[in-house]
Amino acid sequence: MPDLLIELFSEEIPARMQTRAADDLKKLVTDGLVEAGLTYAGAAAFSTPRRLALSLDGLSAESKATREERKGPKVGAPDKAIDGFLRGAGVTREDLEIRDDKKGQVYFAVIEKPGRLAADIIAEVLEKTIRNFPWPKSMRWGDGPLKWVRPLHSIICILSDEAGAQVVPLDIDGITSGDSTRGHRFLAPDAFSVTGFDDYEAKLKRAHVILRADERAELIWHDATNQAFALGLEVVEDRGLLAEVAGLVEWPVVLLGQIADTFLGLPPEVLQTSMKEHQKFFSVRNPKTSRIERFVTVANMETADHGATILAGNQKVLFARLADAKFFWENDLRVAKAGMDPWLESLSNVTFHNKLGSQKDRIERIAALAREIAPAVGADPELAEQAARVAKADLSSEMVYEFPELQGLMGRYYATEAGLDASVAAACQEHYSPLGPSDDVPTAPVSVAVALADKIDTLTGFWAIDEKPTGSKDPFALRRAALGVIRLVLENSVSSKLLPVFQLTVLKHMARVRGSEYAMMADKAALALIEAGKQNEAARVFEALRAEAADTSDEEANKKLLAAMNAMAADLLSFFHDRLKVFLKDKGIRHDIIDACIAMPGNDDLTLLVKRAEALAETLATDDGENLIQGFKRANNILTQAEEKDGVEYSYGADIKFAEDDAEKALFAALDAADAKIAPAMAAEDFSTAMTAMAAIRPAVDAFFTDVQVNADSQVLRRNRLNLLSRIRNLCLSVADLTKIEG
């Protein structure tokens, strides 16, 4: 059983691609070998900046010979059929055998494939792998057609066993396989040959190359933390950076450097980002003060002066970088302290979306909306509006231009420096959240108001210009924005109707899209609409708006506008309901339960909707609840049939004086008792109590169906009993639309 060693030696492979490339090499080669009939015991792949390597052990020396028999057409069948069979089987007519079958004589093909030597298969598979390697980006070089991530220089491909190592011959556009490679670019540049994987790894280490990425990462982390610890400091953990740096060096040498005192006053995030993004430095923190005081850089070189020159150079570069950062910070502070006006002005030149206006237009809308939303989330409307006005100001700052990832955080620093309220400063940072499903949701009321306003403005905007997400396409991350709104509302228990808010903002966007003609009208309409808080009052608002508009546009146009606004807002709400279903499904609430609650009025208050759904889920989980559903369905079926047959609706009050049976009387009593509890509970939005009361009628309902014949001979009794069933139906439907419940 021989072992296989492959190394593809090239110019520097981007760090971010190395791990994936090693995995791809392993998968493509092993899949290819197995498909060709070889087996192997174990496989491992490795990467350094200049090489991908693959080691396979216990490889079979050759593939087994195979023999396959295939039954073909009858003797005397048309030539077309026989030729087709020959093509499929890959044989000629002379190779066919004629055998007796039940139905007569039939052609048989015997396909024999001889075993192939592992080396032949490997050469074929490796060439195919190299030519079709799935690099994220690949390139040509020189005058050849071959593509690789960077120029490929040499290939090791050897099979080794007890008898020794043997090169698997391969020639890819002039690059021939061999058994030799090179070590570290500067510390051991000469070529050397290897006999197998263990020899390869050991010789590489002697040539100042650590083959394994995880070994390099561990070594870096170990040395860095040790050096920091010796000074009473700690390295700020950053796994992404560690993996990247381990991919930039073959021979890591950790150096701890100084940050000049003049920069220690910069916000720690600025120091950290500047050092990481530009220089790939780790930050070293003083655990007592939480300040970043030093840095760690990882060199790829051992030098006679123990890295003194390298460290001095890195410190110098850092000095220049931080001098830039300090320059930005100080310029920004001047603008911030003066009230940030130039930033806000310049946002009018920044296009948010060509149909939705500039960032400044957007900020105006968000400020108005945040003010409207504020009372519902317990925020001061003045502060909410103020926060919305400054929340995006930092986008114009020099620091955020340089480091976009610091947006929000810098806003917080600058708002604080501008002397704004702490809640306003916090909103500058927090209003972007939550970004992902695991991201924390802000809880400070002002932050919540601005976060909601920001996201709702985005959603309604893209709805108004009909750029909704479709299928897998969601270029503006609108699903994420909707989920953000859902989480903000639910986790802060905000009870507020969303539909009027949607209508308001959709209308503002439409006004913008349709031009200034509507702008003034729409603003007024929007304000009136939100005060009215009701959809059906919008018509009146529009009437008022039309009267006030200087340009008397026609009534038809306004009606169309109103209808379009309502349709868009309703469509957006149903998009929210879909997102909510996904969100609640993850929390273990069935979609039919949510549907039963969405069908009820007030479904644009998500907190209320979820409260109702949770209460219903809880009730349905009880014995009474589950059985009541059956009782409800039976009552509903009987009623529906009777109503269809009789052509009337049995909703006229049932009267207890016509009740004959005990079970019938008991049901009257149970319904009365439940009604007495449910109505006040529903009014107080106490769904739990209402649903418990509903479930409590179950024994009476069950007994009724067991003991009482609804379709009695007496028409009076029958009518009274149907009306009684209608009371069951109405009672249940007052809590949730149970017709939607499955099962």
């Binding site: 070089w141 020189g142 991530v149 930039l248 001095a312 110098k316 570069v317």
Partner: protein
């Protein structure tokens, strides 16, 4: 050569000598305002077509938005790039490059030299390539690119391009912290000159003009004129009616493209180009660059049969 260079110009001279010894034609700077050495036709146009090419040159480059009145230690609106272009890219290009660092006094055994991923793309030239930025002790000292496409054409063969930011590199080698303090000629010479003596005043003058004085209406008109002239040149029939020769005017047209590109940079520095317009302007320059590439590949230098 092993000793350290003593001035900015000595570094340039050593690079010239080194690349000449490696077989490059040492060209002179292109006589137009450009944003980078890549714009020189010896790179942009010569990277196209099948003919072998090897050239090295200094290119004065202008980036109006980077002007800081000569006060920033390493930002200038006018600076120098050293550019090498070899087609096809030789297999030992990395070693050749490291040799050039040695020639200017960077001893690889004392420093940490690294090739860090940096893909290059020029939206205005319709060009892209893969390569690295080369780091010396954490500082970017060069760009190293294998051109894959220029002017929308696949580069066959591929050119290897090296670009050195000369001021930054020289400051590092000479141990200078502020670019203006850098010795331009030999500090021991009878009239020692610093970078300040040569360029401080011009940095101030151009920064003021670039940022506040340049007449944007005139610049906009010049942009339109350059665009129109470029297109008009390329619309001419290939056969010259006077000489009867086939003369495709790829270079004169490309000059207008370079002009348009620089005018766009000036307009950008004046802050009169909005984010949305920006893309449109870049697109217009790219259209010109592509048209010039189309023309060049029909010429003899561009590899067309004579």
């Amino acid at each position: 050569m092993a000793d350290k260079p003593r001035s900015f110009q000595e570094i340039i001279l050593r690079l010239q000598t080194y690349w000449a010894s490696k077989g490059c034609a040492i060209l002179q700077p292109y006589d137009m305002e450009v944003g980078a050495g890549t714009f020189h036709p010896a790179t942009t146009l010569r990277a196209l077509g099948s003919k072998a090419w090897a050239a090295a040159y200094v290119q004065p480059s202008r980036r109006p938005t980077d002007g800081r009145y000569g006060e920033n230690p390493n930002r200038l609106q006018h600076y120098y790039q050293y550019q090498v272009l070899i087609k096809p890219s030789p297999p030992d290009l990395q070693e050749l490059y490291l040799g050039s660092l040695k020639a200017i006094g960077i001893d690889a055994s004392l420093h940490d030299i690294r090739f860090v991923e940096d893909d290059w793309e020029s939206p205005t030239l319709g060009a892209w390539g893969l390569g690295w930025e080369v780091w010396c002790d954490g500082m970017e000292v060069s760009q190293f690119t294998y051109f894959q496409q220029v002017g929308g054409y696949d580069c066959k063969p591929v050119s290897g391009e090296l670009t050195y930011g000369l001021e930054r590199l020289a400051m590092y080698i000479l141990g200078v912290d502020h670019v203006m303090d850098m010795p331009f000629n030999d500090p021991q010479s009878p009239s020692p000159l610093t970078y300040r003596d040569v360029f401080k005043q011009t940095e101030e003058e151009y920064a003021r003009w670039n940022f506040d004085v340049a007449d944007t209406d005139i610049l906009l008109q010049h942009f339109k004129d350059a665009e129109a002239e470029c297109q008009r040149i390329l619309e001419q029939p290939a056969e010259d009616p006077k000489t009867g020769k086939r003369i495709i005017m790829a270079h004169p047209a490309y000059d207008q493209c370079i002009k348009a590109s620089h005018l766009f940079n000036l307009l950008d520095a004046r802050g009169v180009i909005s984010v949305t317009e920006r893309q449109a302007y870049i697109g217009r320059v790219r259209t010109l660059a592509k048209a010039c590439a189309d023309a060049f590949v029909q010429t003899e230098a561009g590899g067309a049969a004579a």
